[in-house]
């Protein structure tokens, strides 16, 4: 890594430079599955951020004692623990959100972003940087989920956080909240995200 490792760099890179899932094309399953409504997308993003932050901190702090051969098993145990904690807490305090996200909460365990950051970053870097990385990537991911679910909910249902915001005679573009709509929406956004830096570098 050529760039200086500062906390602010590690934190902010998650918002643009390797923004998941657009730049870091990981974590696509929840992105496609739970972004029908903004509430679900945001809930999923925050849950993922929580898991990512704590698994990064724990893994980074015990990285020297984990033997290389069993590192993935150890990471998964730690990640799974935090996922179950999120599940229980969500069930206890946000039951309606828990009902909507359902099976996708336990599936955070296999979200590639989390294991990916543990393996690629937390296992090689000190705690404070890992925490910044986890929080940055997590919030970046939340931001992406919010963005894509806002597009899908506004176009597909004519609502935003469940409130009607389109004009009265608006006929919801129901395709957007169906599964194929998610793929096409994601594809178009990915294309746009690739177009913007190309334009910027072209202008310079």
């Amino acid at each position: 890594m050529a760039k200086a490792k500062s906390i602010s760099y590690e934190f902010f890179k998650g918002f643009w430079e390797i923004l998941p899932p657009f730049r870091l094309v990981l974590g696509l399953c929840p992105m496609l599955a739970v972004t029908k409504y903004v509430e679900n997308g945001l809930g999923m993003g925050i849950a993922t951020t929580f898991v990512l932050l704590f698994s990064n901190i724990i893994i980074s702090s015990i990285k020297s004692v984990i033997p290389k051969k069993v590192r993935i098993a150890s990471y998964i145990v730690i990640i799974a623990t935090f996922v179950v904690i999120v599940e229980l807490v969500m069930q206890a305090f946000f039951y309606s959100l828990f009902e909507k996200l359902g099976i996708f909460i336990p599936l955070i365990v296999v979200n590639c972003i989390i294991l990916g950051r543990a393996e690629a970053f937390a296992s090689k870097n000190p705690i404070h940087l890992s925490a910044a990385d986890g929080l940055g990537i997590g919030l970046g991911y939340t931001m992406s989920l919010f963005f894509i679910s806002a597009i899908r909910e506004i176009l597909g249902a004519g609502t935003f956080f469940g409130m009607h915001i389109m004009w009265g005679s608006y006929e919801p573009f129901a395709f957007m909240i169906e599964a194929p709509g998610a793929f096409i929406c994601l594809g178009l956004l990915l294309a746009m995200m690739n177009l913007i830096p190309n334009k910027l570098s072209g202008a310079n």
Binding site: I66, P67, I78, Q91, A92
Partner: protein, 190 residues
């Protein structure tokens, strides 16, 4: 060899610590989750089948023991007099157990209605047993009615394409019918 021992020790320690952590969190959230489940899962169903009650059904839930087994029952009251009771029985469906809440009017001895609490049936097929178009089949039926799907000679319109799930619901209702006289006795005693 030393490496192997280290691997075993590290993994064991991590798993143990995680296990304790989870147990603690579970212990801490247990009562709260139970309340939430009652409120969000059983609440709507109970309020539907015992709809003309004047008391808070969830708050007044009680556990009673019949023939050595404990059952969670919801007693509906009108003018502080118990008039109806609802409780859950399960039966094996297509994808797992289906939990069916059955409400009984203890004054007139009829089934007031049913609600599906838990199920893991196929969405769009078996899962449609929880829709009111199916559960309304059971509204205000006398106890000696034939609680079976029409193919089996009963009065229940099965959800098309989901006979197994529909049968399971009927069988859970029949189980409640068996239990009902005992539970009624207990309530009347009180």
């Amino acid at each position: 060899m030393k490496e192997y021992i280290r691997m075993v020790v590290v993994l064991t320690v991590i798993a143990t610590v995680c296990g304790f952590l989870l147990a603690a969190v579970r212990k801490g959230t247990e009562t709260r989750i139970e309340e939430q489940v009652l409120l969000y899962v059983q609440g709507p169903a109970v309020n539907k089948v015992l709809s003309s009650s004047t008391n808070d059904l969830i708050q007044d839930r009680q556990e009673i023991s019949v023939q050595g087994q404990d059952y969670l029952i919801f007693v509906g009251e009108r003018n502080t007099q118990p008039w109806a009771v609802a409780f859950e029985r399960t039966a094996g469906g297509y994808g797992g157990d289906i939990g069916v809440l059955v409400g009984f009017d203890i004054e007139r001895d009829i089934v007031t209605g049913i609600g599906i609490l838990t199920h893991s049936e196929t969405p769009g097929l078996g899962a449609r047993v929880s829709e009111s178009i199916f559960t309304d089949n059971f509204n205000n039926k006398t106890l000696n009615a034939n609680f079976n799907v029409k193919q089996d000679g009963g009065f229940v319109d099965a959800v098309s394409g989901a006979t197994i799930s529909s049968r399971a619901v009927c069988s859970a209702v029949r189980k409640s019918l068996e239990l009902y006289p005992e539970i009624k006795k207990e309530i009347v005693k009180q």
